[in-house]
Amino acid sequence: MAAVERKILLKHADEDYYSPSIDSYLEQGGYEGLKKALAEKPEDLREAVKDSGLRGRGGAGFSCGIKWSLVDRKSGKPIYLICNCDESEPGTFKDRQLVHKDPHQLIEGMMISAFANDVALAFIYIREEMPLGAKILEKAIEEARAKNLVGENILGSGYSCDIVVHRGAGAYICGEETGLIESMEGKRPYPRIKPPFFPAVLGLYQCPTIVNNVETLCNVVHVVNMGVEEYTKIGRHGNTGTRIWCVSGMVKNPGYYEIEPMTMKEFLYDVCGGPLPGRKFKGCIPGGGSMKILGAEETYTDREGKSFSFDEIIVDYDGIAAAGSMSGSSGMMILDDSTDIVEALANITAFYAHESCGQCTPCREGSLWTKKITARMCTGGARPQDVDLLYDMAGNIGGRTVCPMGYSTTWPVQSYIEKFRDEFDSKAQANECGMKSFDERLIEK
């Protein structure tokens, strides 16, 4: 039987009967989860989310329950909840669907999470490029406030919490949680150094802060509605719940698909329709532009030493991690045999050079350098030593920067070269401009 989607978060979103209005949401049993949650103790809710195994959908895949448990609740300072809707990773467009088509699901998820964490003020940080989403959210919050689902004394429970929509200032780095916090404070979104600025202790305005992705918060609604036991039956151990994958690139049916874990073959062929006519898959970038590429011809080995093929990779957190990459923000970009891998890399690195915030040296200088080399390689100026230079230099960036975005330049460069070295080398052999290095010119003189 062909693998199919399992729609939970997107159950109603694309249906004809559904609209982003509160009436539509209430008709489908909306805000029942909030009512249920308000009757419970916050610590029980936190425990439930931890037991559900819900992992962050934003990129790192950290356990949501553990994230909540790290919040400093003894400081006496207010605790803030921020919904990270700065969806800016290349190839990712799931949060936009959730915000545009089902904003109340997010608001309900936020209210439950806020209640569970004793939050009195929550924010939605929405990226600058989503003005419509911001309008929809603001309208939805007004609707919810009119029905006493947001604001003072929610549904007579005595609990009060408001939600503020904050429009971002337009930078990739605002998606990094501490960069986001700086941006919310009105500063340049330079990520903070950790230690000491862990958001759970010193976040927004130096207060304990929880930053969760849109999809994560929407999942909280279903954890509460279904109960932990039912929820954990979805997916597999350590990868509970469904995930929305954003598929783009060289595939028959690109789009967003909410699925339970399945193999890459099932996903790409049954769900996404397979390669374009007459083409062959070359590989995929599984979790947004910064992740390591997975080659279609490659043989992978997991930690236990078991080898498996590209088709057998399980599309979830642990499955992709076993293949040596990360599911990241679940923006899956498919490349086929028509793709020039060096051009793909030049494209990706141009993005990260443009979006490097410029705070710390390796990423600031390394990303632009990488861009310049790859751009030159694609315009006929490749030199034989460029490949090793790129590879070696990329190793000086990742893991040595303030925030994890250093890897955004490192991982693509390293993985593309490791897996498609011959394509890089042939570029150099086809050097059209005959560009020579400074040292070579010096020797000639």
Partner: protein, 562 residues
């Protein structure tokens, strides 16, 4: 780790396997510096917040391992604690010392990290050291000799940024040389309270700039030049005047106010080129005002009294000093030693009254106090005056008018500026010692030129009653004797068995035995940071200073003012 926390409250940190004892929470850059090693860094500054952006100070960090399940410490085969090093390097500047911490500062990985950062910093940096004013005191230059490749792998176009940008009246910016460490931004915001600097643009195109319509013009702007690790920010006064390796640095004390900012005077062949702050954590940290940096220009002031303007000899002065109606006016900008000899001269010649002229100003609550005299407390300590000085010598004026004073000795003060009229001056014989000509020297019967603070040794006592010494940076004007020598000769003329007091060492031998405040002190043993004296005898006096960095006025004074 109870066995680790001994009585002294110190903990053990292992730097490259060597045990170092330190206070918990010590910054690792400072810790390693304290054992004489260096962790290279650009953005870290001990007196500013930690930014952690240059990534030059990366080190390997490890902690004693603990078993995940049991929580028991993990041990090596020989029973020593097993140290688990983190896979990624950590920034030393952002890490605080904790018990049992192990760091590696010389490992292969650390070296690779630094070489990587060094290469990144240099690819877009102009290689213009030969014409760069920072050369010789440039951290980029220094660390590139340690961690640079010696050749470049970079064949692309460099990023082009603005050059020769005037940031303010005293500071010039070259953005291409900037390594974006943000020290100047943090200084302006955190210390100078003038948040005018910031970055614009993104990534490698990030550019330091001033807020539109504003200038970096606060009175502390030149500190940004001092802390700039590269040649991006330069002093418009100093740039291109002298290569720094030719400069001789002499520790000195700023005479701008009673704060007593510690300074370094840089000179070459008898000419001063600049003054920079010298670190003293009790006084000025690592800062000084812009206005204090130009004081060296007084050495070549056009009104400077030279040996040509000297008039009268010792015998002549002695004759005047024999007057029964003699008064002395001293200066709060003279050193402790000079004021001591001056006071002694006044006592020997049975002075009718001694005065000091107060110079007050509006302080800035940072490093300029309300008292423009650097050594008011020195004058009190040596007993020249007993109460705080006033800025108008009205008492002296009425004494002249009443005929109680017919001879006046003035030392480095223009009496007409202190309320003595020309008519009053005409009524008395004036003996003037001083560096500059003024209405008083014009009216004086005898003029003896003296030296500026840069041309002699001495000590000041600042508002905290901290005794601080300054050393001679440049030779004095040709033919002009040291102040101490002048007074010593004069004293010996008046009282032949006084002995030689022409050196600070000789004066200090007397000071330490005669004045209890100075007991046990000597000029030679006085450390560069100075020493705090017990000024409680003068606690009752309503000193004019308000709050400044590291100084709070005594509670009584505040009440008295209120």
């Amino acid at each position: 780790m109870s066995e680790d926390q001994k009585d002294d409250g110190l903990i053990s940190v292992f730097v490259d396997d060597k045990e170092v004892r330190c206070k918990p929470g010590t910054n690792l850059v400072d810790l390693v510096a304290s054992v004489g090693e260096e962790i290279p860094h650009y953005c870290y500054h001990p007196k500013l917040s930690v930014s952690g952006n240059c990534r030059m100070c990366l080190i390997e960090l490890g902690m004693p391992g603990r078993d995940r399940n049991t929580g028991e410490p993990m041990l090596n085969e020989d029973g020593t604690p097993k140290i688990m090093f983190f896979p990624n390097p950590a920034i030393a500047c952002g890490t605080k010392a904790g018990p049992g911490m192990h760091i590696r500062t010389k490992s292969e990985m650390v070296k690779r990290c630094r070489e990587g950062v060094m290469e990144f910093l240099l690819i877009n940096h102009p290689l213009d050291c030969p014409i760069c004013d920072q050369a010789g005191e440039c951290k980029l230059q220094e660390f590139s000799t340690d961690y640079g490749k010696g050749y470049s792998r970079f064949v692309e176009q460099k990023v082009v940024k603005p050059k020769r940008t005037v940031l303010g009246p005293r500071v010039m910016l070259d953005d291409e040389r900037c390594v974006l460490c943000s020290r100047c931004i943090r200084f302006s915001k955190e210390v100078a309270n003038d948040d005018v600097l910031g970055f614009v643009d993104r990534g490698s195109y990030s550019t330091l700039t001033c807020y539109p319509g504003k200038q970096l013009e606060n009175n502390y702007s030149l500190n940004t030049v001092d802390i700039c690790p590269v040649g991006a920010l330069t002093s418009r006064d100093f740039r291109f005047k002298m290569r720094v390796w030719f400069l001789k640095e002499t520790p000195s004390i700023c005479t701008e106010s009673s704060v007593g900012v510690n300074t370094l005077v840089s000179s070459r062949e008898g000419k001063i080129y600049r003054i920079t702050p010298r670190r003293n954590d009790e006084v000025n940290d690592t800062w000084m005002s812009d206005s204090g940096r130009v004081i060296y220009k007084e050495v070549e002031d056009e009104n400077r009294l030279s040996s040509d303007s000297s008039s009268g000899d010792l015998a002549q002065i002695h004759k005047y000093l024999e007057s029964e109606k003699i008064a002395y006016v001293g200066s709060g900008s003279s050193s402790v030693e000079e004021l001591y000899l001056y006071n002694r001269l006044s006592r020997t010649t049975r002075s009718v009254a001694n005065y000091l002229v107060a110079h007050t100003q509006e302080g800035d609550e940072l490093l300029i106090s309300n008292d423009a005299n650097p050594n008011t407390r020195g004058a009190l300590s040596v007993g020249l005056i007993e109460s705080l000085p006033e800025d108008q010598l009205s008492d002296l004026g009425s004494k002249i008018d009443a005929g109680d004073v017919d001879t006046l000795v003035a030392y480095n003060e223009d009496l007409t500026a202190a309320g003595i009229t020309a008519e009053q001056l005409a009524k008395v014989d004036v003996i003037y010692f001083g560096t500059n000509s003024n209405a008083t020297s014009e009216a004086a019967a005898v003029v003896i030129p003296t030296l500026t603070v840069f041309e002699k040794d001495g000590t000041f006592i600042n508002q905290q009653f901290r005794l601080q010494k300054f050393l001679q940076a440049i030779p004095g004007l040709s033919g002009v004797a040291d102040d101490l020598e002048t007074f010593s000769q004069l004293l010996n003329h008046v009282e032949p068995d006084t002995g030689d007091l022409s050196s600070v060492q000789a004066v200090w031998a007397e000071l330490s035995s005669e004045i209890s405040l100075f007991e046990g002190q000597s000029f030679a043993a006085l450390s560069p940071e100075g020493v705090a004296l017990d000024g409680s005898t003068f606690k009752h006096l309503p000193f004019c200073e308000g709050k400044t960095l590291h100084y709070e006025p005594a509670a009584e004074t505040v009440e008295a003012e209120a």
